[in-house]
């Protein structure tokens, strides 16, 4: 019964993990080459493969849980078991030749995210078989989403920064292709939007990617390794060698690495791509928002956490908190159902990042929130997809309404997701959000934990407000749109239900110890705690804080209920907020500012460059050079007469000159006897 044996055996289990990693890749290769000829365009093949991968990932998670609850160290590197992939040979900083060997790093953090990715990705595959039915590029969509999953799985398993970066980039490419999925569909009325959105996403995340690359190379340059374990140890040594102070360069490098997170996890000011990423098919949005992309940024922070100096962590907290409040305000003014969810994601990501910046238990809380968020946000997004599907691709909430009766299952699951996100009742989000708020106590930010705490509570209220606003506008009242909405097929609602169940129960693995007497309840902290946070105090339930936060969330809920219950599609909020509404609804004019930057500043520089290139480089240098070559060639052409006699004569002349030179060389012209020749 090898498969159900939960002790970790490197020989067997690393191969299983690699199998889970490569199943989507194999699926991609098959699908992209022969997918269109398969029955049902090959969707069953990839979904089955993903299902197998999911089983392995979940099994791995149980292994981690059982090992850690038995008190064992759960930190496996495949290189220790002799499984590795030697890739780059380069001269290292130290002596001798260094060799980049890629291996698998499997620890509780990786196991948790690995399982989340597996489950969400499988459900998204399943959902897509219904949602994407009839799409022109159905088989391509499945191939791409499989490769997207492969990239994320690889990123989670990488045991070194370089391979993490490679998968990170692959994910950037796949997000580009998937967000722009409809840009190849001439029937889609949003074809131009999709093309613009995928370009925007790609270019914006690119800024972050370059930052990450620079940061990675700075660390490599100093420490001579990409391995996480080596980097952590080297950091500890470097700090110790510097007398306990963090070297300045590490702060700079850490900021660059964090830049990667800012880009991928859509933190301020590089958040602008995520709302536009809604142009992709809804299952893709669910993937991006729950399991891949944005989770990758947070995961990167988790992996590089020991290398980030306190100053960097301060910046991380500040950026995260700013993003959280900033996106929440915008989220209150959006009418696109997916837009609300998008800004909600940015806001929640801000939460996670801010928590991680607090360090210590904040890291655990942030990662915990990432996992719970993945479940309920995937659920919410798939619900949104179901709603859009049921409303014949209508996305504006003002044209919805009254779906409560028409789409029972979708409504129920949406409700679960909303409850989990807005933290009204003690399921998923309630526990993780409270842990984050509790973790703000230990921040080392200059402006103190009180403001951070207040911000967090405020954002919790706003989250409740905009989510219930969306709920009432979508499901409450009378139907205002055209056509008759209908419930989605089973293949779409079953993933919703599964995710809803997860949303309810996932929060219970992270209940802080001591909440219910002396029982060990915080499993999540349990696995992560041993990792590199030994000695950090665990999360504890701060009841006053929890009560205040829940009360504020309820306040947000009641405000939304008062304003939108029985909504007729008109939003009373603009009148109440006035100018602030305008600021928020225009996304704080940040997109406009970037547009100005691109259109005026960058275009101006480009024009100057163009002028230099066109008139000075091409006209001045290249054209004149080619002219000179042509004239010389024309002159030289006349030498080639085609007359054989001329050639022979010149050959003879040349031979004569050579003969003379040789004779001169050996001294025969002066009459003496040469020493050469003879024996």
């Amino acid at each position: 019964m090898g498969f159900f044996d939960l002790t970790f055996e490197p020989d067997r289990d690393f191969r299983l993990l690699l199998m889970a990693l490569f199943l989507p890749l194999v699926g991609y290769v098959i699908q992209i080459s022969v997918g269109r000829f398969l029955p049902r365009k090959g969707d069953w093949l990839l979904t089955t493969g993903m299902g197998l991968a999911m089983i392995i990932t979940v099994r791995g998670l149980f292994q981690a849980i059982s090992a850690v609850s038995a008190g064992e160290e759960f930190f496996h590197n495949s290189k220790d078991a002799g499984i590795g992939f030697s890739w780059l040979y380069s001269s290292g900083v130290g002596d001798g030749v260094q060799n980049v060997v890629a291996g698998v790093l499997y620890d509780p953090l990786g196991a948790a995210l690995f399982a989340v990715v597996g489950v969400v990705s499988f459900l998204v595959h399943l959902f897509s078989t219904g949602y994407m039915k009839g799409d022109r590029r159905y088989h391509i969509f499945f191939a791409n989403i499989s490769l997207f999953t492969f990239a994320m799985l690889g990123l989670v398993l990488s045991d070194n920064l370089l391979f993490l970066f490679i998968f990170w980039e692959l994910m950037g490419l796949m997000s580009y292709l998937l967000i722009g999925h409809f840009s190849h569909d001439p029937d889609s009325h949003r074809i131009n939007h999709a093309a613009r959105a995928c370009k925007k996403a790609f270019l914006t995340t690119r800024v972050g990617d370059v930052c990450l690359f620079i940061g990675m190379m700075m660390f490599y340059n100093e420490f001579g390794t990409f391995d996480f374990k080596g980097l952590w140890e080297a950091t500890t040594n470097a700090v110790a060698a510097n007398g306990g102070e963090w070297p300045a360069w590490m702060t700079v490098a850490g900021l660059f690495v964090f830049g990667g997170t800012v880009g991928k996890s859509a933190q301020f000011p590089l958040h602008i791509w995520l709302p536009d990423a809604m142009e992709g098919p809804t299952p893709v949005s669910a993937m991006i928002h729950a399991a891949t992309m944005v989770a990758a940024g947070v995961f990167l922070l988790g992996r590089t956490f020991p290398m980030l100096s306190p100053d960097v962590l301060g910046v991380v907290t500040a950026v995260g908190a700013t993003t959280a409040i900033f996106a929440a305000t915008i989220g209150m003014t959006v009418f696109d159902i997916k837009g609300v969810l998008a800004y909600s994601t940015i806001s929640q990501l801000g939460f996670m990042v801010a928590a991680i910046g607090c360090g210590g238990i904040g890291l655990v809380a942030g990662l915990f929130h990432m996992v719970t968020h993945a479940c309920f946000k995937a659920c919410l997004f798939l619900c949104a997809g179901s709603v859009i599907h049921g409303c014949h691709h209508e996305q504006d909430m003002r044209n919805m309404g009254g779906l409560k009766a028409k789409m029972r299952t979708t409504y129920k699951t949406w409700l679960v997701g909303t409850l989990a996100l807005t933290a009204l009742v003690p399921i998923a989000g309630w526990w993780s959000k409270d842990e984050i708020l509790g973790a703000t106590r230990i921040t080392n930010m200059v402006w103190g934990s009180e403001i951070l705490l207040a911000l967090g509570v405020l954002v919790a209220g706003m989250t409740a407000f905009y989510m219930w606003r969306a709920t009432y506008m979508t499901f409450g009242g009378e139907h205002r749109g055209e056509g008759e909405p209908h419930e989605s097929p089973k293949v779409m609602t079953i993933p919703l239900q599964v995710l809803a169940v997860f949303s309810i129960f996932i929060g219970f693995v992270g209940i802080p110890d001591g909440t219910f007497g002396s029982a060990k309840t915080n499993w999540f902290e349990g696995w992560l705690h041993h990792w590199h946070l030994k000695g950090t105090p665990g999360a504890e339930m701060v009841w006053p804080l929890a009560i205040i936060a829940t009360a504020v969330a309820f306040a947000g809920f009641f405000v939304a209920r008062g304003m939108y219950r029985g909504s007729d599609g008109k939003d009373p909020l603009p009148e109440k907020l006035g100018g602030v509404w305008k600021l928020w609804n225009n996304l704080y004019y940040i997109d406009a500012f970037y547009l100005f930057l691109v259109k005026r500043v960058q275009q101006g520089i480009a024009k100057a460059c163009w002028f230099f290139e066109r008139w000075i480089l091409i006209q001045g240098v290249i054209n004149n050079l080619s002219q000179a070559v042509r004239v010389t060639g024309d002159r030289l052409r006349r030498v080639q007469t085609g007359r054989l006699g001329g050639y022979v004569t010149s050959f003879m002349l040349g031979a004569a000159i050579v003969a003379l030179l040789v004779l001169l060389q050996v001294g025969l012209l002066s009459g003496g006897q040469a020493s050469a020749g003879g024996k």
Binding site: Q640, T641, G642, R643, L644, G645, V648, M652, G678, K679
Partner: protein
């Protein structure tokens, strides 16, 4: 006979070959001239071999020159035939299309 005699004959044959190429206006004479030049060189090789103690190098070279000449004659003749077929002329100065 001393080596000077052979070298002199070789030089004369070489000069004849060159002149043959220069003064006659027919591709075949170019071939004749080349054969003469090669033979002139061969005389030198064998003569130097003889007058330079033992060793085989000179003669080896001579054999190679003969092989080379055979190959050259075959290819050159093929070219001559083709040129005549295309231009209906065997005068080198008229076959100058490459110049354009």
């Amino acid at each position: 006979m001393g080596i000077e005699a052979y070298v002199a004959v070789s030089a004369a044959l070489f000069a004849l070959g060159i002149v043959c190429i220069l003064v006659r206006r027919n591709i075949l004479y170019v071939l004749f001239g080349i054969e003469m030049i090669l033979n002139a060189a061969n005389i030198n090789f064998v003569a130097f071999n003889r007058f330079n103690g033992d060793g085989l190098e000179g003669r080896m070279f001579a054999v190679f020159v003969i092989i080379l000449a055979a190959a050259e004659a075959a290819v050159a003749l093929a070219i001559v035939l083709n040129v005549f077929h295309l231009f209906h002329s065997v005068t080198p100065s008229e076959v100058d299309r490459l110049r354009e």
